[in-house]
């Protein structure tokens, strides 16, 4: 195997015991052959955990794109305890041109384990992490409710656990994430929460005028209309739940005193469509998605002058959501506040 093969993006099979040595040797040869043309870079260790070939491929593609914006050592794991006994590993590099003929490359290690070999994955992953770099574990798909020891071992070195609550099929999944936040040193991150960012920006803009801020304590009703591809699937409602939880947590409102309504509309896409926040004085703050123009429009029906506002809200791909998450070196303290509220609301809505 040559360094050129590695930087071409092709997967190269290697012995699990010599992954690190093989990578080091290849970069040494690369340096000798091409001088300073290639730079290895990493700001994060990102471990993607999947259980299916489809999720494995998705993780590799998504993190390959994400590594352009956030250089990282990527470790993509596919673990199928119920599958045939196997353990294999592959390496490749995700490279992009920086200019002046220079390339920046991030390494990707792929591990496939099945049967009882799955237990060997956490120590192998731990050995492959670059020291002194933060570790994010991205869990693809629904959260496991069994194999607690395996999950704990995998999360042990993790600074962050990235999930996508849109894939949750049960309110108990939200509880697992909230528990990770409460009981471990791993900070949770939710791609569904990041999808809400533009909605939060737009809603916040309505409450920027000093006279509007005081109204926040008097929220009485939150009405959410959401597009749904699979009605009655719990994950479709989580974005709305997180939004409402955020308002309540930040406004300091008592959950019991606020009416919450999440209405789903059958659609070919998913995501929030319209939000109305009604205050005690009857005034209403609206945020509405304009799909065609890729914006959120805000308006306020009440006595304070709040000109109509516009917030850009282009649909973000998974790699963009991951990049957004990894760009922030500190954990999201706000999500930690919002999660327990969303667990409570989920019970109510359910």
């Amino acid at each position: 195997m040559t360094a050129d093969e590695l930087t071409s993006g092709e997967d190269v099979k290697v012995d699990s015991a010599t992954i690190e040595e093989t990578l080091a040797e290849l970069w040494r040869v690369e340096k000798k052959d091409h001088d300073n043309a290639v730079t290895r870079a990493a700001l994060w260790n990102v471990v993607a955990h999947s259980a299916t070939p489809e999720h494995h491929t998705e993780a590799s593609e998504v993190l390959g794109k994400a590594s352009i914006a956030v250089p990282q050592r990527t470790i993509v794991v596919r673990a199928t305890p119920a599958g045939p006994t196997e353990m294999s590993s592959w390496i490749s590099a995700n490279c992009h041109l920086l200019g002046e003929g220079k390339q920046v490359c991030s390494e990707e290690i792929s591990i496939i384990a099945g049967g009882d070999r799955v237990e060997r994955v956490p120590p192998l992953v731990a050995a492959l992490l670059i020291p002194d770099m933060p570790v994010a574990v991205w869990w693809l798909g629904d959260l496991p409710h069994e194999n607690a020891a395996y999950v704990a071992a995998l999360l042990e070195p993790a600074d962050r656990l990235i999930v996508d609550s849109a894939a949750f099929d049960n309110p108990a999944d939200l509880e697992i994430v909230a528990r990770v936040a409460q009981k471990t040193m791993t900070a949770p991150a939710d791609l569904n929460w990041i999808r809400l960012e533009e909605w939060r920006i737009a809603t916040a803009s309505l409450f920027d005028p000093p006279e509007m801020r005081s109204k926040l304590a008097h929220v009485r009703r939150i009405r959410i209309l959401t597009d749904s591809m699979q009605q009655n699937f719990f994950g479709e409602r989580v974005e709305g739940l997180l939004f409402a939880s955020w308002i309540l947590a930040q406004a300091g409102c008592e959950i019991e005193r606020v009416d919450l309504e999440i209405e789903e509309r059958q659609s070919l896409r998913r995501g929030l469509l319209r939000v109305g926040v009604t205050m005690e004085d009857g005034s209403v703050a609206y945020v509405e998605r304009d799909l065609e123009r890729g914006i959120l429009v805000t308006r306020y029906d009440g006595h304070v002058i709040v000109p109509e506002g516009v917030t850009r809200a282009q649909k973000r791909t998974t790699d963009q959501l991951i990049v957004r998450e990894l760009k922030d070196p500190s954990s999201d303290r706000l999500l930690l506040k919002v999660l327990p509220v969303s667990v409570e609301l989920a019970k109510r809505v359910a």
Binding site: E197, P209, E211, R213, S214, I295, P307, E308, V310, R312
Partner: protein
């Protein structure tokens, strides 16, 4: 009984957002709205802020200038400028539409009282329709000779309010040059404070809006490893370079009356110098940071009267070539006097007479038509105290250098010696590099975006204070006076070189040489 809820100081819904610091809606009036600065920098920066969700929905911008525009014509003009110069170009239709709703124009002469009445009416109207609450920002994008008349009218028409006197805020933003010398700087400051209080005045030095310049403080004071070495015990000398490959372009008129020392050294370079050399501030707030910066300026050693040459070199470019293109000499540039004595290059040896920096020279050089555009600061450390490898052939140790690249290709590198692999002991310098582009990818905001936002937020940390400006002039003035009295021409250097030989000699006399940035 009606219970009035208390007004929260900040919007809790902003917590955790990148747009955490969004100012209250205000009216920003730009005097000189038809000028180059407005079109190339200010409005494109404001549009990019709106694009990124950093402006409040009621933010209002009023252009004030002599040409006869309607609001719509002004908007079209600005849209074109944003399409050309904004970081977030091309303009997004929906964002633009909303941004343009807050864009107005008032035609008038700076000395015409009727124009100020029209402006006042427009401002009152915006308070009613856009919720700007009487908050005002006046951006003086005009030559300094217009400052007095504008300030006089604003004050006279009652268009300046102050929260300390129970009104909403008014702030004035002033562009450099802050004077031509100490006397004119003092006069400008005097004029400004007849209408505004010092804390209402924001003096823009766009270098302070650059991410890498702000990172200087983070590098020094957020990391534990640098500060212990950041002193005369470990640092041999410091070099600061602000090099431009361009000539004077369309600014011949201004530059020929200013020169590189006034244009670059008095402001940008002294800001870089003071951020590099200052003591840790007691807090990260406007006055604490500026107090420390001004202490550095006060500690600058005076130029030796009658022997300025031992500390300062000036040069002027002649015909040459830059980046493969022929470049005409300075005196052949448009709007430059054919017998001009104006310096287009200056190199200074500067001492900061304080406990930390005693006898550590800071070498400053700035010039036009140098080989490339680059701004960098290099900290050159002293050699190891005992030359352990002195007698080993093949070992030639070199001093460690911490290089901070301000622009372009922003980043930081550390050079140190390492053993070359093999059976014999040989060393070679190697470099550890951090590059913004590699690590953070995204394009940083333009300096003006950051600075405009800070003025709206009322944080003056990134702006020059009156005493900073005056202290800088007080130090530089004697050198400028000596140069003005010197009938000799500045030393010639061909365009595309690193300045005259005398600049090299300035360092060679100390046994040092310029680092190639």
């Amino acid at each position: 009984m009606t219970v009035v809820a208390p007004v929260l100081e900040t919007n809790p819904l902003r917590e955790g957002l990148e747009q955490e610091r969004v100012p209250d809606a205000s009216c920003l009036v730009i005097f000189g709205a038809s000028g180059d600065l407005t079109h190339r920098k200010l409005l494109p920066a404001l549009y990019s802020l709106a694009h990124d969700g950093l402006l409040p929905s009621g933010q209002t911008i009023i252009g004030f200038a002599r040409p006869d525009y309607t609001d719509d014509a002004f908007r079209m003009d600005i849209r074109e400028a944003c399409n050309k110069y904004a970081r977030t170009r091309p303009v997004d239709e929906a964002v633009w539409e909303n941004f343009a709703k807050g864009l107005f124009y008032v035609q008038g002469d700076f000395g015409d009282s009727a124009a100020y009445l029209r402006l006042k009416e427009k401002l009152a109207e915006c308070d009613k329709t856009r919720g700007t609450g009487g908050r005002r920002l006046y951006y003086l994008a005009v030559p300094p000779n217009f400052f007095p008349v504008i300030c006089e009218f604003l004050g006279g028409e009652g268009m300046v309010t102050d929260p300390e006197r129970g009104g909403p805020y008014t702030r004035a933003i002033i562009e450099k040059p802050f004077g031509h010398d100490l006397a004119s700087a003092k006069e400008l400051n005097r004029v400004a404070v007849t209408t505004f209080r010092e804390r209402q005045v924001f003096r823009i030095d766009h270098y302070l809006g650059k991410e890498t310049v702000q990172n200087l403080m983070v590098l020094r004071f957020a990391n534990g490893i640098f500060e212990p070495f950041w002193n005369r015990q470990y640092i041999d000398h410091v070099q600061l370079t602000v090099a431009e490959s361009l000539g004077v372009e369309k600014r011949g008129n201004y530059f020929d009356n200013a020169g590189i020392a006034r244009d670059i050294i008095q402001n940008h370079m002294l800001q870089l110098l003071s951020l590099t050399a200052m003591e840790p501030p007691v807090a990260f707030d406007a006055d604490a940071v500026r107090d420390e910066k001004v202490k550095v300026l006060r500690a600058l050693r005076e130029f030796p009267k009658g022997n300025e040459e031992s500390m300062a070199v000036r040069g002027q470019y002649t015909d040459g070539s830059v980046l493969g293109e022929l470049a005409a000499g300075y005196r052949k540039e448009e709007n430059v006097r054919p017998d001009s004595h104006t310096e287009t290059f200056a190199a200074l040896k500067v001492y900061i007479d304080n406990w930390r920096w005693a006898d550590v020279p800071f070498y400053l050089r700035a010039g036009k038509r140098l080989p490339k555009r680059v701004t960098d600061i290099s900290i050159q450390f002293r050699p190891a105290p005992y030359p352990l490898f002195k007698k080993v052939s093949g070992v030639r140790t070199q001093p460690n250098v911490l290089a901070i690249r301000i622009q372009p290709d922003e980043g930081i590198s550390l050079k140190f010696d390492s053993k070359v692999p093999g059976p014999v002991v040989r060393t070679a310098p190697v470099t550890m590099e951090f590059r913004y582009a590699t690590s953070f990818g995204a394009e940083p905001p333009e300096a003006y975006e950051r600075l405009l936002l800070e003025t709206m937020l009322g944080d003056s940390t990134l702006f020059a204070r009156r005493d900073e400006v005056e202290t800088a002039w007080a130090w530089l003035d004697p050198l400028l006076t000596a140069w003005a009295a010197d009938s000799r021409l500045p030393d010639a250097y061909p365009a595309g070189t690193w300045g005259p030989d005398a600049a090299d000699a300035l360092l060679a006399a100390d046994g040092r040489k310029w680092r190639r940035p």
